[in-house]
Structures are given as structure tokens and as C-alpha cells.
Amino acid sequence: MASENILEVRNLSVDYASDTGTVHAVDNVSFVIKRGEIFGLAGESGSGKSTLAFALARLLKFPAKITKGEVVFNFQTDRQTPQEEEMFGDSVDILELLPEELRQFRWRKLSIVFQSAMNALNPVLTIETQVTDVIKAHDPSLDARQRRERAVELIRMVGISADRLKSYPHQLSGGMRQRAIIAIALALNPDLIIMDEPTTALDVVVQREILNEIKALQEKFGFSVIFITHDLSLLLEISNHVAIMYAGRLVELAEQEGLILQPYHPYSYGLIHSFPELQGEKKHMLGIPGHPPDLRALPIGCSFAPRCAFAFDACRKVMPALRAPSDAEPAHVVACHLYDSAHNSNRPPTSVDPSLATETPRGQLASSTGGSQ
């Protein structure tokens, strides 16, 4: 029996030790990923999204340290070899895997696509060597000819002609390099692929082509994707569920449509409204005042409070926990005191009112300073 959740992350925390104190890069994060979905993880630089991804794949190195939590991976029984079943059973905590088990697990079950295709490929090896190396390391049952055949199959699958297998990375364009990386990630038909900013360095047209490719491959093979990006506008288009991180914590988790239609957290609201639109009336937008916090000196209470137009006393004292603000959608959770009657009895639990958000002090400040001199 396979669970419909492929991955269950519970109370995961990652710290970085530094001379100036410990940084909680990922702080008590929990979420689940359903089989066959694209799970979007959005956040700014320093929000901990990449650290989280690396933790899930057990790729963190010193000074990063997973301090607590579990990452339970549920196997899909019909896709498991008897050998794997014996080694792992139905489900496994990735954080508990022994080195040899980890080697068996990675790439067959979980692979990762890194942000910079330029750095993720080895410049002195051909694409073919890099694809076949992966297969050789993780599936010793194939011989050289079978590996080559698989490489041809993979590279065609991502829309590159097979003769480019003999190319070196510098001979390929940015888009093709990114496609090659995706082909390598798909090499052993994994159940889950983590994609860390897979299209960030690409031009917008190429980015769209790669996204279409990912979506098409995902529909064909049914793998799940954790898609990490700072570009929420992109994420909202392609994801089934979206999680928003701020300063190492999840602040909102919802279905894509719920988040677009009704973002609860003021940060989510601000982020969604930080992207100018191409349709409809052109309107004045404010973004979010201030700048992301220093993780070494996070405020007590809600990390977003110093930038939040709605912050009140409780926000500066008590750290909000994730909870559902509305009974109608129990899966839509937000970490904000605005929707917690224990802290905020005078405000009804509705979504952030846009008309209030336009009254942030920064907007007035900008206009007053702009006119002086």
C-alpha cells in the first residue's frame, strides 16, 4: 500500500554554526508532498529554501547541521525492486539512511536539479559521459551499451538531438545545458525531483520552454517535483501547492488557487503583489517596505513584524504557529496572529485587505522625500 503522500517533512530544523552565533536557516518546517504534484517553495534570498532542499537530499555540509525533524519518504510499492523493499520497507526517514542506503536511494528515488547549469555540469566531460556516469554509479546492472542507449533516450526526451551528446557544456546554450541537467536528473526514473531555481539564469522565452518541458515530462512519468524559486509569479502558474518561506520558517501553505485568490499572510500578499501584471489596469503597487532580516538577529515573535503594516503587540512577542484561518479550507494554513482570535479578537479572520496595505508608512515616506531639495 503506497501512501498518497510521497514525502512527509516534520519539524525539520537546520542550523548554521558561525562565529557570530548560530543561524537557524530552517526552523521547524513541516509539510507533505503528494504523489505526482508540483510543490512550489517560494522565498527570498536567505529565506532558507535552498537549505531546506539540500537537507531533504542530505546534501548539507558543515557548518550546516540538521538539528531535528524527520523526512519520511513513502515508496511506491509497485515501482520497488525486491532488493529495495528488503532494504527500505514501505517508508524510510531520509535523515536516518546509512551511507550505502543513501547511495541506493539517491537518483533512483530522489534527484536534484541545481540552480546553475553552468556549474552543475563538468566543463571537461562530454554530456554523454556525464549522463552515463550517473547511470553507472547508481544502476550497476546496465552495461556500457545499455547506458549509452539510455543516454540517447534521455537527451531526446528533453528535446535535444542525440548528436549533442558528444558536446561539451560550453558548446551548448544556457537552455540546452539546463535541459541536459534535467535529463541527468531523470536518468534513473526517480519518484521525486527537487528543482532549485532551475530557470532563474535563463531568458524568459527559454524559461517558458523549460517549464513546458518539465510539465510535459511530469505528466508523462508522474514524478513529483519540489520547485524552488524566488519568482512567485512563475510558481503560482505551475504548482499544485505553494509554500511560502520567510526567514527560515513557513509562513503560509496553500493550494495554488487559494493562495492567488486569498493570500492570508501579509508577506504572501505583499509578495504576490510585488509582480507587476501584464493584464488589466495598470495600478500603483508598493511591494514590501524594508528588507529581509538578518538571520543572526531575528526579532522575537514574528520575523516579518518589522516590515508588516498590520503588526500589533502580540506579533512582537509571540511567534505565530501555522494554523488554518478559515474552517472552510483546513489545508490552507498561515502563521499570522491576525487570524488568531486568541491574539486578535477585534479583527474578523478574513484575508488581508488590500486597501489597508496601501497605507504603509513607506509609501508616504517615499513621496515626501522624493519632493525635497
Binding site: 527570498e44 524568459v204 522565452v205 524566488h230 502558474e237 492567488i260 509582480f275 517615499a366
Partner: protein, 353 residues
């Protein structure tokens, strides 16, 4: 501060403060650098551009489209390879090294605030230099006062706290504000902003765009906003120019370009841009059909004629032969595309103003 307004139509505007006609730029490439091939990179093919006081023009294109080169030529950082230019109606020569007076009027803000500030100098030093060089101060008190004013102008408050800081003590957004303040210290009339927000965190980009838009409205600066993001171009600019592989393909008032793009490349750019509202209008498939495929060409050996023709779904034989002249579509909207008529036989842009 009010929202950036749409231009009322280019015809009714006053004279441009800076305009360039048939501006062109090529770079010589040494033979060894390109594996045996020598030649020139045709970074900018003849194009016209005009900037007006109190107005923002967005130059939109992908990497390698030549948009940064245009800004650097206008700023006098690279000598132009061809074309003529006027500043306040007077002819200026961009093909050789420009006089100091050029920099007094035209300032450039770079994309990367991590590279554009000197790590060993304080904020005070960065802002005092242009004030000295351009003779805006005479006493020490004036100097400090003006630096504080500049910091407040770019919303770095309390200014007294920022004045002694060094770049490494500042966030990306704060650094970019210093870079903008440094450009403003010169008291220019034209500000060329090369991707001023693309290196910044998403949540602070709009704040920065609003700040720049404020200079346009309050100081009457003419702004050139270079971006790869057509949505922020729409937000920020009165007029949009679209470049592809060194060629200007379309230009006109912002809303006209966004709502009725004519050139197939502009259409491609718009259809590829992220837009969550699309989710509701086109169903939840998640796959967006693109009218064209492929990537921009090399500029050392670019396609002949219209450089977009290898990717263009409407390409005709003539597109391979020569680059179309400008077709006026009314209300300041123009495009270089044979789909909209045989606009003359001169393959270079004709100057019309």
C-alpha cells in the same frame, strides 16, 4: 507619489532632451578569442532612441539583445560606431571620448550593486566624490549636508546612520540606493538605469522602481530603464522599445505595446512572461503554447536580414534578405516587420521625428 502615468502620445510632447538617430555599435573581436573566427560583434544595429524630461523609456530585450550596449554608448562609456546624437537640440559626438560635461548631464546606474561600489570606501566617500568632481560643494559642512540630503532622497533614513557605513554592511537594496544617490549627486538631467532591480530581492524591487519613478516626476529626469522583464517595463515606463539580437523591432506607448504587440518577437516575449492571472484565463494545464521556439543567435555571425527570421512563425523569403524599415502604425507605435507592409527599401532605419 502618483502611479506612473501613460504618455498622452508622443506627438504632443516637447523636444527630446537626448536623442540618437541610427545609433550603431560594433565590437572588434580578436581572432583567437573566438576559436579561429575573427570579425565584429554587431551589438547594436542602427536604431533611433529619444528620451524626454519627466518621461521613462523602457528598453526591453533578452540577454545579448544589445540593450546594455545602447545605454553605455549613450553614457559615453563606449564610443559609438555610427549614428548621430543630439543633447538639448545640440549635436554631440558619441563616436569619440565624451567631455566631462556629458557625464554631468547623463548618468548611468549599473545592474550589480555588489560590483559597482568600492568595498574599501565608505558611503560618505562614494557620495562626496561626484560632489567634488562636479564642483557642487565648497565647504565641509556643505558636503556633509548634501550627502545627508542625498541619502534621504533615496529613502536611506536615518541618514546619519548610513553615512559612515561601508558597502559590506549594507544589503543589496541599500547598496543600489547608494549607487542611485551617487548618480543623483551629479545632478544629471538623464538617468540611464541598467537592470536596476534584477539583482535585488523580489519584495524590494517595487520600492526601488517607485523611488526611480519619483525622480522622473519630481526632478523631471529623463529615464532610460533597461530590463528583461516586460511586466516591470509596463509598470515603470511611458514608452517601450523592444530589442532582439541588436535590432530594434518595435516601439511605442507602453499600453499599446502590451495590449497590441505587432512584432512576432514582442508577441513571443509577452506570451512567455510569467503571469499567474493566465491560470484563470487559459485553464489549469500549466503549459503555455509559445508561438516560436529557439534561442537568440550569436551576434558574431547573425542571421541575415531580420535576425528573428529563423525563429519567426511568419517568416517570408524577404525577411532573410534585408531588415525591414520602420512601419508607422499610428500614435507613436512603430515596428520593423514586413508583415505590416513594405515600408521602403532602405534596410537601415530612416530618421523620422
Amino acid at each position: 507619489m502618483t502611479a506612473p502615468q501613460s504618455s498622452p502620445g508622443i506627438d504632443t510632447l516637447p523636444q527630446p532632451i537626448l536623442e540618437a538617430t541610427a545609433l550603431r555599435k560594433t565590437f572588434a573581436v580578436s581572432s583567437r578569442a573566438v576559436l579561429g573566427r575573427s570579425g565584429t560583434v554587431k551589438a547594436v544595429e542602427p536604431m533611433d532612441i529619444a528620451l524626454y524630461p519627466g518621461k521613462a523609456v523602457a528598453l526591453v530585450g533578452e540577454s545579448g539583445s544589445g540593450k546594455t550596449t545602447v545605454a553605455r554608448v549613450l553614457a559615453g562609456m563606449y564610443p559609438a560606431s555610427g549614428g548621430t546624437a543630439k543633447f538639448r537640440g545640440k549635436v554631440i559626438d558619441l563616436s569619440r571620448s565624451v567631455p566631462k560635461s556629458h557625464h554631468r548631464e547623463i548618468q548611468l546606474v549599473f545592474q550589480d550593486p555588489f560590483g559597482s561600489l568600492n568595498p574599501v570606501h565608505s558611503v560618505y566617500y562614494h557620495l562626496a566624490r561626484p560632489l567634488h568632481v562636479f564642483g557642487h560643494i565648497h565647504t565641509k559642512e556643505q558636503e556633509r549636508q548634501q550627502i545627508l540630503d542625498l541619502l534621504r532622497r533615496v529613502s536611506l533614513t536615518p541618514a546619519e546612520q548610513f553615512i559612515e557605513k561601508f558597502p559590506h554592511e549594507l544589503s543589496g537594496g541599500q547598496r543600489q540606493r547608494i549607487a542611485i544617490a551617487r548618480a543623483l549627486a551629479v545632478r544629471p538631467s538623464v538617468l540611464l538605469a541598467d537592470e536596476p532591480v534584477s539583482m535585488l530581492d523580489v519584495s524590494i524591487r517595487l520600492d526601488m522602481l517607485n523611488l526611480l519613478a519619483g525622480f522622473k516626476d519630481d526632478l523631471g529626469l529623463a529615464l532610460l530603464f533597461i530590463t528583461h522583464d516586460i511586466a516591470s517595463a509596463r509598470y515603470f515606463a511611458d514608452e517601450i522599445l523592444v530589442m532582439y539580437a541588436g535590432q530594434l523591432v518595435e516601439g511605442g506607448p507602453t499600453e499599446t505595446i502590451i495590449k497590441t504587440p505587432k512584432h512576432p518577437y514582442t508577441q513571443l516575449l509577452l506570451s512567455a512572461a510569467p503571469d499567474p492571472s493566465r491560470m484563470f484565463s487559459r485553464g489549469k494545464k500549466g503549459i503555455v503554447e509559445l508561438p516560436a521556439r529557439g534561442e537568440p543567435p550569436s551576434l558574431i555571425d547573425p542571421p541575415t536580414g531580420c535576425r528573428f527570421h529563423p525563429r519567426c512563425p511568419h517568416a517570408m523569403p524577404v525577411c532573410r534578405e534585408r531588415f525591414p524599415a520602420r512601419t508607422e502604425l499610428g500614435d507613436g507605435h512603430s515596428t520593423h516587420c514586413f508583415l505590416y507592409g513594405e515600408a521602403g527599401s532602405n534596410p537601415q532605419t530612416s530618421s523620422q521625428s
